[in-house]
């Protein structure tokens, strides 16, 4: 009986942390997506200096928010964000309009995709 009680407590803790994790992941993703949108706006307006500053801010946000991601998520997904971010930085530094927008779009998709993959939906279960 003690064993069952212990298991029940751990299960509740696991389910609770799973829900908290999903929520935290969505918050992180929203923060990152907002900054990606700001970079995107600056690039569209050809404000390259502003765009570069925003990218530095985005990098800092990613380093802060993404610290705990590797504990719970596939490392390949996190590596993809790092690679994409590196490419965006170079394209913006090189003032390449099309490539910058394209890469920003890809980065946003990768970041948005992660909480969707972890969401509790029938599609993900099956």
């Amino acid at each position: 009986m003690r064993l069952l009680t212990g298991i029940a407590i751990i299960m509740i803790a696991l389910v609770g942390s799973g829900l908290v994790l999903n929520h935290a992941l969505q918050d992180s993703t929203r923060a990152l997506t907002r900054q990606i949108d700001r970079v995107d706006c600056n690039v569209r307006a050809y404000q390259w200096q502003e765009a570069q500053k925003e990218i530095e801010e985005l990098k800092k946000t990613w380093e802060q928010q993404g610290k705990w991601w590797p504990i719970f998520l596939d490392h390949q997904e996190i590596d993809n964000i790092d690679f994409s971010l590196a490419r965006v930085k170079e394209y913006v530094a090189g003032r390449d309009y099309s490539l910058s927008l394209g890469q920003l779009s890809e980065l946003k998709l990768i970041v948005d995709h992660i909480p969707k993959k972890e969401a509790i939906t029938l599609k993900n279960i099956l």
């Binding site: 069952l4 696991l14 590797p70 504990i71 719970f72 596939d74």
Partner: protein, 229 residues
């Protein structure tokens, strides 16, 4: 490389702990749902061991869930006989009074060659000698021989052998098992005295020693290469 070593150790320890809590049964005596859990746990542990890109929690959490499911099913089986029947199934009589139950064999998809093989493994060569053969839920075949064919027991010869209890282990690999001394109603001095009578003056030179229910001490000294100098 070091990462793989650390992750392997963590997963190994976690798996051993969970299997230890799950209880002691030999592989051949596991119920189907227990066997499934063992196989799945080993697969789940292996994946994060070899792939450092997968978080270790992706292995530990499913292992815990399987362990929790197994413990829960075991408790349900313990409390409810009906549930036990559903979860583990029921034993089936394959031979009754030397007659093979053909319908039962068909239902279980258990062919006659398998049955004969299992009987031979139990040292039964003639079906005529078998009173009952029962296929247990673990897949093992239990054979009950006819009374004329079973091995002779002391009772059959009107003998009353002396009581034989369990031998108590007193020494393992040079170390005295202190908690067993009061169970055997002896103390360290007595043990050392008895060993000294056989020329052993140092407990570290004893590999194994037990005391049976007739207060007879059996011991084996360590091989010459491993004795203390």
């Amino acid at each position: 490389m070091i990462l793989i070593i650390i992750r392997t150790l963590i997963l190994y320890i976690a798996t051993v702990v969970f299997l230890r809590i799950m209880g002691k049964r030999q592989i051949g005596q596991l119920q189907p749902y227990e066997l499934v859990v063992i196989i799945m746990i080993s697969e789940l542990a292996a994946i994060p061991m070899e792939n450092t890109g997968i978080p270790i929690l992706s292995g530990l959490v499913p292992i815990f869930i399987l362990f929790a499911s197994e413990v829960t099913l075991s408790y349900i089986s313990l409390k409810s006989e009906k549930a036990r029947g559903m979860i583990s199934g029921k034993p089936s009589i394959l031979i009754e009074k030397s007659k093979i139950m053909e319908d039962e064999l068909k239902r279980l998809r258990y062919n006659i060659n398998d049955l004969l093989e299992q009987l031979r493994l139990k040292n039964v060569l003639d079906i005529n000698d078998v009173e009952f053969a029962i296929l247990e839920t673990s897949g093992q075949l239990s054979v009950i021989l006819k009374s004329q064919k079973r091995p002779v027991e002391a009772q059959d010869l009107n003998l009353s052998p002396e009581y034989e209890g369990l031998p108590i282990t007193l020494v393992i690999d040079g170390e005295i098992i202190e908690e067993n001394l009061p169970k055997a109603n002896v103390d360290v001095d007595w043990l050392l005295n008895e060993l000294a009578k056989s020329g052993i003056n140092n407990i570290k030179d004893v590999f194994f020693a037990t005391l049976d229910s007739h207060a007879k001490l059996y011991f084996q000294p360590k091989s010459p290469g491993s004795k203390t100098k």
